[in-house]
């Protein structure tokens, strides 16, 4: 992964995780696969680095977790969005949109 991508990822990893978890209870491995699939492997995540972010979001009350069985019958830790997390996701998305719009506007009009 290039430095440029790392920088973008670092700032937005929390938002991406919240967005993925918003779709329904999901375990860590699945989150990492989902982010890579959806981004068409644009983000080559060092997979371990996902977990500190997950734990941070859980400890701050944006995510809740419990242990459930997977399809294959193994126990795994499933994360789901809390009410607080949903609000957080909304504000982060709004902020992100406003910023990208502003950046795009500058790029267009500054020509």
């Amino acid at each position: 992964m290039t430095d440029e991508k790392t920088a973008i990822l670092k700032g937005t990893l929390d938002m991406l995780i919240l967005k993925v978890v918003a779709l329904g209870p999901i375990h860590g491995y699945a989150i990492s696969q989902r982010i890579q699939q959806i981004s068409k492997d644009y983000f080559q995540l060092q997979e371990g680095s996902l977990y500190p972010a997950l734990h941070r979001l859980e400890n701050r009350g944006f995510l809740a977790a419990d242990w459930q069985s997977t399809d294959t019958g193994r126990e795994a830790k499933f994360y789901k969005l809390t009410r607080k997390g949903r609000k957080r996701l909304e504000t982060e998305m709004e902020g992100w949109e406003r910023m990208t719009e502003a950046v795009a506007l500058i790029l267009r009009t500054a020509e």
């Binding site: 491995y29 060092q46 371990g48 500190p52 734990h55 419990d66 242990w67 193994r74 126990e75 830790k77």
Partner: protein
């Protein structure tokens, strides 16, 4: 599916974290296998894709709210386990630290009590000491003539209160119980109110009592009230007799009241009652004052200086020549009262700080040796994903734990040290101050311990990480191979620093010791050995007339001179090393000196004719007293050389010149000089010789007699015989203060002895620690170089060559330390100047002696590992590789 949730919640968080991450890697592996990757390759790939497991775990943990506490507890548990695994190191480190911290706690508690704590008076920051020095008057200390005090008192704009004191010396307190000698002090009526102190019982002095001829009043210290009056409130208003004059006690001071006059606490206060006239005589006063708010010391000095110059004309005429040179100063009262203790205490404080630094350097060195062994442990943990900051925190926890334990043991030692100090500190240095370990000293100990932990822990830490951890992991087995170059350099540097600090301390101790020896060696001008002294006070009821006194003296002298074992015996009115009575004198044919002109006062003694022979004082000119000088013959006097120097400075022959004595104030007695004796050190060991006049005791007998016996052997043996001779003359006569002159003089040097002993003790500790430091470094180097030594020996090096090699390295280190230490000592010992006597702070003898002592210790410290290096068997050493 509720139960597994509850089940899992109970499991601890660590295993949950572990399961979660393992699940991820297993899923990944399974997925890769499903894609057709080889199973072992799949797992490796999954791990690589995941990153450092331990680092991820650590990052996850850190997001927990109280993780710092958890990790601290874990670190402490781990540190305790590690320290218990090497009890030798742990004990050494804790004891070394305890030594340094304990010494610091004890000395700091004294510094805190004496120098840092504010004086126990109201608003003490505004209290000042105002004084004038007249260098031309050649008086001891500095005092304010009373006319100037009056002018200051009446005209100043800078003080809200100004009071004067006068050391009244000792009183004999009689009436109600046995007579007692007590320390008294004369104070102006407002003295206590300027300090902001109120009597605990009764009242303060009134201004009426402070007038000459006013009612005689006294205020008791709490201690005297307890000891003399058993704390009875009825003591108030009771008449007491002080020096045969009646006083009434009007008040008792609070128990907490302290006012040290040169380090001693007065037991009783009387009003000063300074005469209002300023023309005829001068009283020399001590002046304290309270600054008005917002007035600075410089402003006060300027104001007093102006008033003072206007007041000079009010002084008696003889004073005029002294006012040509005047030094006025206003200093904080606290500085004045603690002036004598400041340098000694700061010296001790500096000494213990050095001890602590050496202790820290030693522990840092020990940590470094351990560090090279532990480098593998840390490399392994680092490879498993522990971050550097995590490892650093671990090491810091370990050294903090050591210093906390060292601090606790040290605190116990500090309590003990304070008890010792209180018992052994000579009278006058700080006995008035309340020395104990309080909150401030406790806080100081905690701060020092923390600092010691950081200092001794941080350095080793920095080297642990400097070599590549991977290299460390790859070097197989041999711990000693891990000592990197910077590590060795740092260890040498620490040892050099230890040696340097020890050198500074040893030099300081050496200077104090030499100075003490010089002091005890001072030729007092008389032979102090084999000299027994004693005191007799003849009661005035039985011995009232001169013939009675004279008869007693003659009879006593006859009896004690005949005692077997006595070589010479004599009587005098004061001991040659003790306080003396000053007499106002003039020379016939010259102008009469002004009243209280300080240069007109000369110590006067009555002595029997054997006096000069008994003490071994040579007669330089004319003759000493003999049996020609009896009660009926013409009065004569012997003076000393210093008297001649002061009164006959132009080489006139003093013999036959007539001295005028003014015993009652007026000159009434004319005595011709018949001889000149050599001067002795009357004003103490470090003082200057004083002029003196002697009269025959047969012509001026006294009721207060000192006995001097020059003995053939140990003077103490003669004490019972002397006592029985006195009792044979008068069965009721007590002989008091029986002591040898050498014992009396030892008391005089007790302060110097104490300073030399304490700093010497600290220096010895420093020397031992520095020796251990050098030994540690050298034996570590030898261990490290076993292989190299083996090669050298296989190539034909002799065992002596090996020893020389090891010793050369060690001595180079010690030599560097000595040079640095001598440089430091030259810079620092200048501060000791005021404590030294006839020794310059750069005394070459002390410096070279210390260098030799240190070199010897260093040589021994190298010798032991050097012998070990000599015994290296080349076969074993080489096979070892």
């Amino acid at each position: 599916m509720r139960w597994p949730t509850r089940f899992f919640r109970k499991r601890n968080r660590e295993s949950q974290l572990d399961s979660e991450l393992r699940f991820h890697i297993e899923q990944k592996t399974a997925e890769l296998i499903a894609k057709g990757v080889d199973p072992s390759e799949a797992r490796r790939h999954a791990m690589a894709k995941f990153g450092g497991v331990e680092a991820v775990k650590e990052d996850c943990r850190e997001s927990r709210a109280f993780y710092w506490l958890e990790s601290l507890l874990a670190d402490v548990r781990y540190a305790i386990r590690t320290l218990r695994k090497s009890p030798g190191f742990t004990t050494t480190a804790i004891l070394t630290l305890a030594l340094g911290i304990g010494a610091n706690t004890a000395i700091f508690s004294v510094v805190d009590a004496v120098l840092l704590r504010p004086l126990p008076y109201k608003d003490p920051a505004h209290l000042v000491w105002a004084t004038i020095q007249f260098p031309k008057a050649k008086m001891h200390g500095s005092f304010v003539p009373h006319p100037i005090y009056f002018a200051w008192r009446d005209q100043n704009d800078v003080f809200s209160g100004i009071a004067a004191t006068h050391s009244e010396g000792n009183f004999t307190l009689t009436g109600g119980g046995i007579p007692e000698r007590i320390r008294g002090m004369g104070v102006s009526a407002n003295f206590f109110s300027v300090l902001g102190v109120e009597p605990a019982l009764g009242r303060d002095f009134t201004s009426e009592e402070d007038r000459p001829g006013g009612p005689h009043a006294a205020i008791l210290s709490y201690g005297l009230w307890q000891s003399r009056f058993a704390g009875d409130p009825r003591a108030l208003g009771q008449p007491i007799m002080l020096n045969d004059r009646g006083y009434s006690t009007v008040g008792v001071l609070p128990a907490s009241f302290k006012f040290p006059i040169p380090g001693r606490q007065p037991q009783l206060f009387v009003p000063l009652a300074v005469p209002t006239s300023t023309r005829s005589e001068v009283w020399y006063l001590n002046v304290i004052a309270r600054l008005k708010r917002g007035v600075t010391l410089a402003q006060a000095e300027a104001d007093l200086s102006l008033i003072e110059s206007r007041a000079f004309p009010l002084l008696p005429k003889f004073f005029g020549r002294f006012t040509q040179e005047v030094h006025l100063s206003v200093i904080p009262l606290h500085d004045h009262l603690t002036a004598g203790a400041r340098v000694p205490l700061l010296t001790l404080m500096a000494a213990v700080v050095f001890i602590l630094l050496i202790a820290c350097a030693n522990i840092a060195n020990l940590q470094l040796s351990r560090g090279s062994v532990r480098a593998r442990e840390f490399a392994l943990r680092s490879a498993l994903g522990a971050t550097r900051s995590r490892l650093a925190r671990q090491l810091l926890t370990e050294s903090m734990l050591l210093s906390v334990m060292g601090g606790l043991v040290g605190l116990a030692g500090g309590f003990w040290g304070v008890v010792l100090l209180r018992a052994f500190v000579p009278v006058g240095l700080l006995n008035v101050w309340n020395v104990h370990i309080d909150g401030t000293a406790l806080a100081f100990t905690i701060a020092v311990s923390a600092l010691a932990g950081v200092v001794s822990g941080l350095w080793p830490m920095s080297t642990l990480f400097s070599p590549g951890l991977n290299d460390t992991l790859q070097t197989t087995g041999r711990a000693q191979a891990t000592g990197s170059r910077s590590n060795v350099f740092l260890r040498n540097l620490l040892a050099v620093a230890e040696v340097a600090a020890a050198v500074v301390l040893l030099i300081a101790a050496g200077l104090l010791l030499r100075s003490f020896l010089r002091l005890t060696d001072v030729s007092l001008g008389f032979n102090t050995h084999d000299l027994l002294t004693a005191q007799i006070s003849l009661p005035s009821e039985k011995y009232s007339t001169s013939p009675q006194l004279e008869a007693f003296s003659a009879q006593l002298l006859g009896r004690i001179s005949a005692l077997p074992g006595v070589r010479a015996a004599s009587l005098s009115t004061s001991l040659p090393n003790a306080l003396y009575m000053d007499m106002r004198v003039g020379i016939e044919g010259r102008p009469v000196p002004g009243l209280n002109d300080p240069t007109s006062f000369v110590p006067l003694d009555s002595v029997s004719d054997g006096y000069f022979r008994t003490l071994g004082i040579p007669i330089l000119l004319g003759r000493g007293f003999d049996n020609r000088d009896g009660p009926k013959t013409a009065r004569v006097a012997v003076v000393n050389q210093e008297f001649v120097r002061r009164f006959f400075p132009h080489g006139e022959n003093p013999i036959g010149k007539v001295i005028l004595l003014a015993p009652g104030g007026a000159y009434q007695r004319a005595v011709p000089i018949i001889g000149v004796a050599a001067a002795i050190q009357r004003a103490g060991l470090s003082g200057k010789p004083l002029p003196e006049i002697f009269q025959p005791i047969a012509q001026s007998p006294s009721s207060d007699i000192r006995v001097l016996l020059r003995t053939a052997s140990d003077p103490r043996i003669l004490a019972p015989a002397l006592r029985s001779q006195v009792l044979a003359i008068d069965r009721q006569l007590p002989l008091s203060h029986v002591a040898t002159m050498d014992d009396l003089l030892a008391g005089e040097t007790s302060r110097q002895r104490f300073e030399a002993a304490v700093v010497g003790l600290f220096a010895a500790l420093a020397l031992a620690l520095a020796g251990v430091g050098i030994y540690g470094v050298i034996s570590y180097t030898v261990d490290q170089r076993t292989h190299e030594i083996g090669i050298r020996m296989a190539l034909g090096a002799e065992r002596d060559d090996v020893l020389r090699l090891v010793i050369r390295d060690g001595m180079f280190m010690a030599g560097t330390g000595v040079v640095v230490g001598i440089g430091g000592a030259l810079a620092l010992t200048r501060l000791l100047r005021s404590l030294l006597f006839q020794i310059t702070p750069a005394d070459p003898a002390t410096y070279s002696a210390v260098a030799v002592v240190l070199a010897t210790v260093a040589l021994m410290a190298c010798w032991i590992p050097g012998r070990r290096a000599m015994r290296v068997d080349p076969n074993v050493a080489l096979r070892h590789e």
